[in-house]
């Protein structure tokens, strides 16, 4: 179990332009996916609440609402898949590199003092 990062290390990371770029890209992706999920789900919910007749429209023996509901479930799977693929493949590698570089630099600075 590692110790909590010291104040100096924290400053080092939070003032490093590369680190800030990596985490703001992570947030841009995670928050956009959140917004897409909320949008799809609440379009479905609002239709359900305020225009159920539209969802009850028949398509074959089924109704429009059934593929839409299943569609929301599938979209949820795809969105989580996109995020885990991106994060585990690119984001983690970038973080690892940054941790190694900034950790080394912080250790060297500590030696100088």
């Amino acid at each position: 179990m590692s110790q909590p990062p010291q104040k100096k290390v924290v400053e080092k990371f939070l003032h490093d332009p590369e680190f800030l770029k990596v985490i703001s890209r992570r947030n841009a992706i995670a928050y956009s996916l959140t917004v897409i999920m909320l949008f799809c789900y609440f379009v479905f919910v609002l239709l359900l609440a305020y225009d159920p007749a539209l969802l009850a429209r028949p398509t074959g023996n089924s109704t429009l609402g059934i593929p839409l509901g299943i569609g929301v479930i599938i979209i949820a799977c795809i969105l989580t898949g996109i995020y885990v693929f991106w994060a585990n493949k690119y984001y983690d590698a970038q973080l690892k590199e940054l941790k190694a570089r900034l950790g080394d630099e912080a250790a060297k600075e500590a030696d100088h003092e």
Binding site: P5, L33, A49, N61, T63, G69, A76, N88
Partner: protein, 529 residues
């Protein structure tokens, strides 16, 4: 046709005994690896992403959701799908907003995360209270469901069934801790997914692999396309606004359930935590598509009269899936599925009890009452407290299960989600994302969400009319003061608003100063345990 449901099947007893023997064997193996706090609460962080994904799915796919949603689709049609979609869309939210901070900041419970940069004692006390209440409500739902199902499926008396479930789950948790609980969940998840897959294949085979033929038969059996159309049913919601409120609590409740959040500490790092959410989302979606097919299969093939005939004790149409299994697979398959349902209940209550015991021992005993710094000795003491708490909760669950015998199971699960979405989720989110959040803000937010959601539910038609005035002459019934069934749209918003307001009125310098350190740990896992 006649059904053999309610009779004791040799085959289900054999399957069930097999399950009990294997899981007790696992518990015996796990007991030797369950000594320290990290081993007891978090399986020493040794669980892989795939294993944890299955265990998360196992925690989520309760007997209430298997039999309940299939039954809801069979009798209420489209309404069942509303629940499935709502329960599922919480998972992407957990993935994008909660999973990484939770894994990187916390130790054993979600209260660790809320309290991370705030004053530990008050925040832990409030978070422990709301965790325990959420867990106990969920536990009552599962126990009542367990007793009724076992009575229906095996013909055992309700009381005996509850005591058996209570004793087995206590054994899993106190001897095997999180490691045994995780493996019980994994085995049960595989059995449940397997059983539901076979039943779905039987349904689709019967209809020549065509959903169109299945829906045609649903229309024919039930005398119209009503089951395929969304319709605002009073059993689900009283108004369009109520539908939105229900949807909010289904979506955000998942991100506030203590037994689900606790699972993120069993994996070694954020990468495995992400993988586990991905696998869980996949398994749960697959499972909901199966229950949807099974539900419509039952609507098409089981005589409507029979569906309603076996309905008892608040378990609306829970027998749809077992009845269908018997029609399509004969009584051996029914026996197998009954054993799987029993195993499902056992696994879910074990996970819940462990989460409740952790809130008592880790959040209350260690976080609030003990004053000294933690040592190896105090860790042992903490595990001992957790084991005592497990026994107390186990006994309490049996007693509450017996006294709430007639409560509606789906309602209790809905209540747990509403409380989780209102009391736990807002404080968790604000603590991680908002620099100016304060100790007082956290406590106020948790208490507002908790108290308001419970009060509004008591004032809702479900309790005010259906419970308080059960059996009263319809013309004399006083209408519910709160006209909706789901309080989340008000109680969750109020929890956010009060948390923000209290934090702005009195800023907390220390909490803001700690934010940068927390931020780094949130993203990189530096300093994570």
């Amino acid at each position: 046709m006649n059904t053999t449901i309610g009779q004791t099947h040799t085959i289900s007893i054999l399957f069930f005994l097999g399950f009990v023997l294997i899981t007790l064997g696992i518990t015996y193996w796990a007991a030797r690896k369950t000594r320290t706090t990290s081993e007891f609460y978090a399986a020493d962080r040794s669980v892989t992403g795939l294993q944890n994904g299955l265990a998360l799915a196992g925690d989520f796919m309760s007997a209430a959701s298997f039999l309940g949603i299939a039954g809801l689709v069979a009798t209420g049609g489209y309404n069942g799908l509303i629940y499935s979609v709502g329960y599922l869309v919480g998972w992407p939210i957990v993935m994008f907003l909660i999973a990484e901070p939770l894994r990187n900041l916390g130790k054993y419970t979600f209260a660790d995360v809320v309290a991370h940069r705030l004053k530990k004692r008050p925040v832990r006390a409030a978070a422990a209270l709301s965790s325990i209440i959420t867990v106990v409500i969920y536990l009552i739902a599962q126990m009542v469901g367990a007793g009724s199902l076992i009575k229906l499926l095996f013909g055992l008396p309700f009381e005996l069934a509850l005591v058996g479930v209570g004793a087995l789950m206590i054994a899993y948790v106190i001897f095997g801790g999180m490691l045994a609980t995780t493996w019980v969940q994994i085995i049960k998840a595989v059995l449940l997914l397997g059983g539901a897959t076979i039943l779905t294949i039987l349904v689709l085979y019967h209809f020549g692999w065509s959903y169109n033929a299945l829906f045609a038969q649903v229309i024919k059996t039930t005398g119209g396309p009503k089951l395929l159309q969304p319709h605002l049913s009073l059993s689900v919601a009283t108004s369009p606004l109520d539908v939105v409120s229900l949807s909010l609590s289904l979506m955000f409740g998942t991100a506030g359930l203590p037994h689900i959040l606790m699972r993120f500490y069993t994996v070694p790092d954020a990468k495995e935590a992400r993988k586990s959410v991905f696998f869980a989302t996949g398994f749960i979606s697959y499972f909901y598509i199966l229950t949807f097919t099974i539900g419509y299969g039952a609507a098409a093939l089981v005589a409507p009269k029979l569906l309603l005939a076996v309905e008892k004790g608040g378990l609306t149409s829970n027998m749809a899936a077992p009845l269908l299994a018997e029609i399509l697979g004969g009584s051996p398959f029914l026996g197998f599925l009954s054993a799987v349902a029993f195993a499902t209940i056992l696994a879910v209550v074990a996970g819940l009890t462990l989460a409740g015991a952790s809130a008592i021992s880790h959040d209350l005993y260690e976080g609030v009452f003990r004053k000294e710094e933690p040592t190896e000795q105090s860790g042992k003491e903490e595990v001992r407290v957790a084991k005592i708490a497990t026994i107390v909760l186990g006994v309490l669950a049996v007693v509450l299960g017996l006294s709430f015998k007639n409560v509606n199971v789906a309602f209790m699960v809905g209540l747990a989600f509403a409380v989780a979405a209102s009391a736990n989720f807002p404080a968790l989110l604000m603590s991680v994302f908002w620099k100016k959040f304060t100790t007082n803000g956290a406590v106020a937010s948790i208490m507002t969400g908790l108290i308001l959601s419970v009060i509004l539910i008591v004032l809702s038609p479900t309790v005010w009319v259906n419970v308080f005035q059960a059996g009263v002459d319809p013309s004399l019934i006083s209408p519910a003061p709160f006209p909706m069934k789901s309080p989340a749209i008000f109680s969750m918003s109020a929890a956010f608003a009060v948390g923000i307001l209290v934090s702005i009125i009195k800023p907390e310098k220390q909490a803001q100063e700690n934010f940068d350190t927390e931020l780094l740990r949130t993203y990189t896992g530096l300093g994570a345990e």
